[in-house]
Amino acid sequence: MTRRWLPYVIFAVWVIALASTPFWATNYIVRLAVMIAMFTALTLSWNFIGGFAGYPSFSTAAFFGLGCYAGALAQRAGVPMVAAWLIATVVVSLFAAALGAIILKLKGHYFAIGSIGIVEVVRLVISSWGSLTGGGDGLNVPLLTGGPNAVARIFLVVMLAIMIIAFLVTVYVDRSRLGFGLRCIQQNEDAADMVGVNNTLYKVIAYTLSALFCGPIGAAYASWTGYIDPTDSFSIIMTIKVPVMCLLGGPGTVLGPVVGTAAFMLLEEVFWANFLDYNRAILGAVIVLLIFFLPRGLLAIPYGKLGARLVALLQRPKVAS
């Protein structure tokens, strides 16, 4: 019984820790908390297609960037900020649903390459369509009034809200018919078809869910920073980071994306602070090692057994030498 509630307790504690940063931490830490909330929501999104359905999608940056631009353009057209975020959500979801029906016919490596191609295609379209998007010069987005610290606090609440909604949807999917069907697809797609799972429909739903939250996250990010350009919005680093975070925590689980994102971003901070020259290289090596030795993520470690063994080790009577 306690085991069943453990993920939710951990998540609640983590939300409170992030939400309380303005009261006890420096502005740098508050900014980091916003980024953690944002990436956790992105990772939870990716988990629907990459974790539950097992389709290695690298489309996250395409959805995020499209969300940035949809939100920014709506705001520049005079739409109120929150309404602009909702518009971005709808635009990105429709884009993913239409695209999913085509790209999900690909499997394995082919799907991965196709999904990463989408990031480039959308980026090129946005940067070439100068009359609408400002091209390579980027776009200014109306700034919120108040100092950067006050604004960061507002966006901490916004990103945490999106992260909590993404988590609740994950919990629902995990327990529902949809989640069961996606797990079947992940393990054996032909067998899933044979037991009556409508594979195409389920995969499109999972792909759309993986995009759904990227829309408002991108739009809110644009409102927060006040300026977006194609290079920053459609970053290949982001599209790779998000799956790595999820794999690090435990793909296809409820808490995995949360734990993976936290672990990744905290490690990144530690290496950034201590090894200014080699931080990327060290981080890369750590990721390779973790994924090599923990293919099912940090959550798959048998912590109970490890703890018991540690206790046994400590209690062992010392042999006099």
Partner: protein, 253 residues
């Protein structure tokens, strides 16, 4: 007699220049056990694939309960009550045995919730004698266990017609006896069974009717006792030369 439950009308399927199934027609009556036999490469599995929609037929039609279901997708076949097992078992390896069967109950069997599907899966595990393995991962079962799991999964789909593709291949004789008993109990529930089989022991003891497939065509059809004496069938299995020698020996001896 009522109308047949499953009808194949002049089915054909070409792969490149090869006629895997060539203008083939047959019908299954409700509640009967029919064996489909034929040498390797005769097109037995292809025929099941055409019926369940894994491949669309190049020509011809499939009718299920009077409805034209040609070109249906496999998941639609499953939901209609046309279940099949695979020659090479297809479990969900990292799910438990119980969850594997629940997948069949939830999607093919149309159970309203995951909890209801789990209950139905428990019933089917008891029916197939897998209850003690319910919480083990499917990949931990022996081959006989995995074949049994395929049957449990299919039964959870509440099928009207069950197509069994070599469920006994690779089993030892004790395991085969167990599987035979299970198939009989499935048939007692009124489920129509089409069984693809190489073992004559199984064919002779189970089937009420035998269809013989060779080069994608139906070369014989009848009760098991007649089929084993059919010249065309012997020729298909042994080749023309041996078939002639065999019948000559029978005349002389």
């Amino acid at each position: 007699m009522s109308a047949p439950i499953l009808v194949a009308e002049r089915l054909s399927r070409r792969f490149g220049g090869i006629h895997a199934i060539d203008d083939l027609s047959f019908a299954l009556n409700e509640g009967e056990i029919v064996a489909l036999i034929g040498p390797n490469g005769a097109g037995k599995t292809t025929l099941v694939n055409l019926i369940t929609g894994v491949h669309p037929p190049s020509a011809g039609r499939v009718k299920f309960e009077g409805e034209d279901v040609t070109g249906q997708r496999p998941f639609q076949a499953a939901r209609r009550g046309l279940a099949r097992t695979f020659q090479i078992v297809q479990p969900f390896p990292r799910m438990t045995v119980l969850e594997n069967v629940a997948a069949g109950a939830l999607f093919g069997g149309g159970q309203p919730s995951v909890a209801a599907a789990m209950d139905m899966a428990r019933e089917q595990l008891a029916f197939t004698g897998l209850t003690q393995f319910a919480d083990r991962p499917a990949s931990a079962l022996t081959l006989a266990g995995r074949k049994r799991l395929e049957l449990a999964k299919s039964m959870a789909m509440r099928p009207k017609v069950l197509m069994l593709d070599e469920v006994n291949a690779g089993l030892n004789s004790g395991e085969i006896d167990g599987a035979l008993a299970l198939i009989r109990r499935i048939a007692e529930r009124g489920i129509t069974i089409l069984i693809i089989e190489h073992l004559m022991k199984v064919v002779m003891s189970l089937a009420q009717r035998v269809l013989v497939l060779h080069h994608g065509q139906l070369i014989a059809e009848g009760v098991p006792g007649d089929i084993v004496r059919n010249e065309k069938v012997i020729e298909a299995y042994l080749g023309e030369k041996f078939a002639r020698r065999f019948s000559a020996e029978k005349l002389n001896g």
